[in-house]
Structure formats: C-alpha cells, structure tokens
Amino acid sequence: MPDTLALIANAAGKLTREGLRMTGRGGTALPGLVALTLDPDYITELSSGLTHGVICVSGTNGKTTTARMLADITRAAGWEPIHNRSGSNLDRGVAAALLADANWYGETRGDVGLFEIDEASLPGAVGRLKPRVVVITNLFRDQMDRYFELDALAKRIGDALATLPEETTLVLNADDPLVANLARRRDANTIFFGVEDQSVGGTIPQAISDATRCPRCKAPLTYKRVVLAHVGDWSCASCWLGRPPRDVSATKVVLGDSWSEISLAGTIGSIFAAVRVPIPGLYNAYNALAAIAAARALEIGLTEATSALANFRPAFGRLETVELEGRTLRLVLVKNPAGFNAAIGALLETGRKPRLLAALNDRDADGRDVSWIWDADFETLAPTVSHAVITGVRGRDLALRFKYAGLPKERIEVVDEWREAIERAVSLAPKGGEVVVLATYTAMQDLREVLSRIGVVAPFWED
C-alpha cells in the first residue's frame, strides 16, 4: 500500500487527469507531472508492489516498438501491463501511466510495469523503478543538443546498471559494442541477443559509426559484418574482446514488403521457431529479438511470445499505413541518422521509387540541431526518389540536403503548411499509389493531428 504522500499525489494526479479529459484534452503527461511534484517518490511507491515487477525498455531506436511488442507478449501470458504507451518516456510519462491504471486508493489494476524510458533518463529511472528486467536496444548518435556525446551517455548508463541488485536481468544487444559492454559486473544477470545470419549486412564500415574503437582497450574494432552504423559482428584484434555469446539469436532473417521473418535459435543452437512479424525492416527484426529475449528473462513461454508477435500492430509512424483519398500514406518516423538509414534501407529493399512527403522540425523533442540530416544517407535515397514535397519548421534545410544529395530541382517542392503539403503530395500520386512520409517526431504529431481532423486516424491518446 502506497504511503500517505503518494496517495495525495495519486489523487491530485487523477483529478488533473479527469479535468483534462472533461475538457477534451487527453494524452498529456501533465497529470504525471502533478503527482511527481507532490511526491517525487510516486513512481517508486506505486510500482514497487507489482506482482511481476517492472520492465524498462531503453536505447536510441526501437524502444517504442519493442515495448509495444512486450505489451502484447505479457498480455498473451495473461498479465496486465501498465504501459506508458503514448510514448511519453520521461518520469512524468511513467507517472501518468501509473495514474491512469491506479484507483483512488493507489491500487493498480495492472500487475507488471512496462516502461519505455528515454535513454538519457535511464540512469535515474532504474534507481527509482528497481526494474526486474532492463532491455537496451542500441545506442546511436541522437539529438546531440540534448544527449551530448554517446561515449559519455554509455558510461552513465553502465554506471547506473552496475548499482542494480543481482536479481535484475539485463537484456542487451550483443551486436552493438556500446550496448554489449554495459554489463560491467561479473555477476550481472544477462541475456544477449543478436543476428547470426551471414547474409545480413555488408562489410564496409558506415560513415555514421559511433563506436569505431574498442570499448575496453580503445584499439580500432574490426568487423566481419556491418549491419547498421557500428552494429554488426564486431571484435577487437588487440584485446580480443568480441561479441558476447548470444542467448537468443536469429539464424536467418527474411525481409518482405510488409513483414519480416526470423528463425530463432538459443545458446545451444537448437532451432526454436520461425517468427513472422507483420512489419518490415531489419531493425524490426532486431526489435522482435529484443522482445523475445525479454520474454525469456520474464520466463514467459516462447509460444505465447511468438503468437503475440504474429499479430503485432506497429505504433503510429513506424512504417504503418493510412489510407487517404485512394492513396496509401506509409508513415516513417525519422529522428536520427541510424534510424533514417535503417528506414530507408527497409523501404528501398523492395525496389520502390518513392514519392515522398518529408518534414523536418527542430523543436525540443526533435532535437534543436538539424545537423544530423547531413550524417544520414540521403545519397542512397535521392536517386530513387521520383518526387519530394517538403515541409516543416526547417523544411528548407531538408530541401537543401536533397539538393546536395543530387536530387534534381524539378523533383523538389517546398510547401510550408502541413495541410497543403499533404494535399499536394496526395494529388501528385496516382490513385492506388503510395506516398512515403518521412517526418521527425513533432512533425509526425502535427501530421497525425491533421489526419485525425480529417477523420482518417484516431487522436493519438486513443491509440
């Protein structure tokens, strides 16, 4: 039972929540902020009694998708997850999810906390949430005006994880040298995941690699395969540090137009199962591996996990589609170079010549520094683009990026207003055709608002 202060915070947060709902404004983390202001320990108080404990999902890319997969998996196991599903991944978002689930006495209906945590907040959050499982998908350069340098961030996360009790299981990406080395303590409970399929990835290091040096001895890393940026089959020729043995791995990955299929293997090499996830892209295969590895840490059966994944529905903007005036909009959230390159890879794999609607914003949640677009591989994308309508607060920077990547002037059009930009892009596509929408975080929110006003999608808080 939460203490008195937590109960007061709970009541105040719930009142705020009710007030917002009555005035038609849902889906904000404000109630969470109110609760935390009254009781900074609110999330610790409410989450400590959960039967199945707390799962934290963090990393640069894929945390929303992985957390949603885990929500489906835990539900398939008969659990009731409390999930900060709307994507608000700071403490206030966690508090808001707990508020929404708890009654006026601070008793939760849910029995497991499933929290997507912003990677910069993770060091503090694990101390407050005392998670049973921590999943880290990958670490890439992202919004450097906020996260600063990646080495420093990895160090802070590693320090924080080292303070957790030994019962905590760390679920880590073995293919990312920065993530694989986050488990510093010898007695740490770990489950590593990775991709074994030799046909996945190339051999050439990518320009956006953030870990070209060994995390232990600083000698240059060598790669047998590079999957994305610094993720791949890495090793250090100097101190012999290499990928840790994978507890859950994909021996084969087959990528389709709108799905990806992975063949799973465990440590002993026996094939468990083939899992088909109904979203395309290699990075979603990684997300599925992370979710399955986490399920194993939670002792949920593989059958429940794979059947939940087979019916998975992606979050808004994660390659899912929306129909508008007889055209299909395929929505792709892009927010950092690695995510951009992965999404572009997934799109072009199937030989598309995309008609684009691209939007760049520089609000706080997007990262105020738009420099990252120059790291992203527009040079691969540009020759395939048949037309691009460009918008957003910093749309003109994006148009310039396309110009320098070699997209001819007559194929680029800047339209400042979102609504007009959507109409223009749709009118240029033939009936039955597809428009690929690339947008940063707040640009995707703006788009969703326009689409929900037109009535083709639900407002995001009803998701």
């Binding site: 953030d210 520094d369 120059w374 003109r396 920077d397 990026r401």
Partner: protein, 241 residues
C-alpha cells in the same frame, strides 16, 4: 581543373553532421565542372601529405579527440603544418578547431598540446554552449548551431571569423566567433556550416584551387535554395536562440 579534398580523421572526428562540409565543397566544385577527389587521412602513417588542396577537420567525441591529439603530436602534425605552408587551406569545426590551436587546458590534469597552426588556446568550461549561432562576418553573416564546452581565446596572429549576434561563439565573453589565419579557418558552427553559408564554401574553394591553378574565378551558382535555408535558420536563431 581538379580539386583535392582531404577529410581528416573521418572515423573519429565525425559527429554533429560535419560531413556536410565535405559534401558542400565537393558538390559546389562539381557543379562548376571541376573534378573532385576526396581522400581520408586518419591515425597512422599518411600516404601522401602533400596531396590535398584543402583539409576538412570536424568535431569529435572526447575519446576520439584524445586519440587524434596523440596522432597529431607526431609526424602527422608536422606534415599538416608543412601542407599549410605549401598553400593548402584548412576548414575546421569544434574539436578540429580546438586541436589546431596551441593547446587545450582541461579542468584538471596536464594540458593537451595542439598543432599550433592557429594562434588560439582553448580552456575547458564548466557549462556547455548549446544553441543556434548567428555571426556577423565582414563579408556576410554565418548561421549554424554550436555545442561545445571549450572556451577558445585568440592570440594576435589569428583574427576572429566574425562577431556573435546570437549565441556564445568562441568563449561567451568577447563576442568573437571562430578564427582565420592565412588560409586556415576554425569555428564552432555545426549545421552543417558550409551548405548554409555558401559564400564561405566558395571562399575556401578559391583558396584551395589557387594552390595549383592560376587566377581562379569561380562561376556563380544559383544559390536560391541556400539563401532560403539561411533565411529560415536565421529566423529560428533570432526567435528561438
């Protein structure tokens, strides 16, 4: 006509999208029918230090800067100096800019020597300067995004690139931003810098081409898109610094 561009330590000094500067130099030369070759120069023995017409040196993480600093303390630093004496140009940003100065003085511990090509010294600061950076230079203004904790102070031989209008620049005290010394430029402008500041890109191209070609006059380009990106970014800098 041809242009040789050297990208210094692209594997270690490559954060904040500084690669866009190499893209801008290459494209603006190619659009004028100048042949371009870009080569990487990283840690270890440099094959041909007399080859480049222009060097680009970007920002890096602390770990990268330590390794690069050690590499430049040896033969490669001397080679870079010799190349500048031979007429090559350098464009450097953030960490690269700091390493071209005399030294970097951390909060604790011994100072890290730089190459000394620029008459500048950098000290560690307690807070980080993060935000849009608008600079008034003698010829035109410069727009970009700064993200650094080092405070750089110029000696008598280096001239500031311009005066800070919005942001902090070199040190947040004397309103200067960047440094120019001969054909060597250093600055704190990410963004990337050169695509949105095409006049500076062309200045560097002119310097670089002059090393092996006589009296180069660069044909004008249609910079309408560059101008409109500059205007939008400047508006953002003025309203949301």
């Amino acid at each position: 006509m041809d242009l040789r561009i050297a990208h210094l330590y692209p594997d270690l000094m490559n954060i904040y999208g500084d690669r866009g500067n190499v893209i801008a130099l290459s494209q603006r030369a190619k659009w004028r029918a100048i042949d371009v070759e870009v080569r990487s120069y990283s840690v270890g023995e440099w094959a041909d230090p007399d080859w480049p017409d222009v060097w680009f040196f970007g920002g890096g993480q602390d770990q990268g800067q330590d390794i690069v600093g050690a590499d430049l303390a040896g033969k490669n630093g001397a080679a870079l100096k010799k190349s500048v004496e031979g007429g090559a140009a350098i464009f450097s940003v953030c960490g690269g800019y700091q390493l071209l100065g005399h030294e970097y003085v951390p909060e604790t511990g011994p100072s890290i020597p730089g190459v000394g090509i620029l008459d500048a010294t950098t000290r560690a600061g307690k807070t980080r300067f993060v935000g849009n950076l608008l600079v008034n230079a003698p010829d035109a203004y410069l727009i970009g995004f700064e993200n650094h904790s080092g405070r750089t102070y110029l000696g008598a031989n280096a001239k500031p690139l311009g005066t800070v209008v919005v942001g902090n620049g070199n040190n947040g005290e004397d309103k200067t931003e960047g440094a120019v010394q001969g054909k060597v430029i250093g600055c704190y402008l990410h963004g990337s810098c050169l695509p949105k500041n095409p006049w500076l890109a062309d200045r560097l191209l002119g310097w670089a081409l002059a090393r092996r070609h006589d009296a180069v006059k660069l044909a004008p380009l249609d910079d309408a898109d560059e101008k409109s990106a500059r205007d939008q970014a400047t508006e953002v800098a003025r309203t949301r610094p």
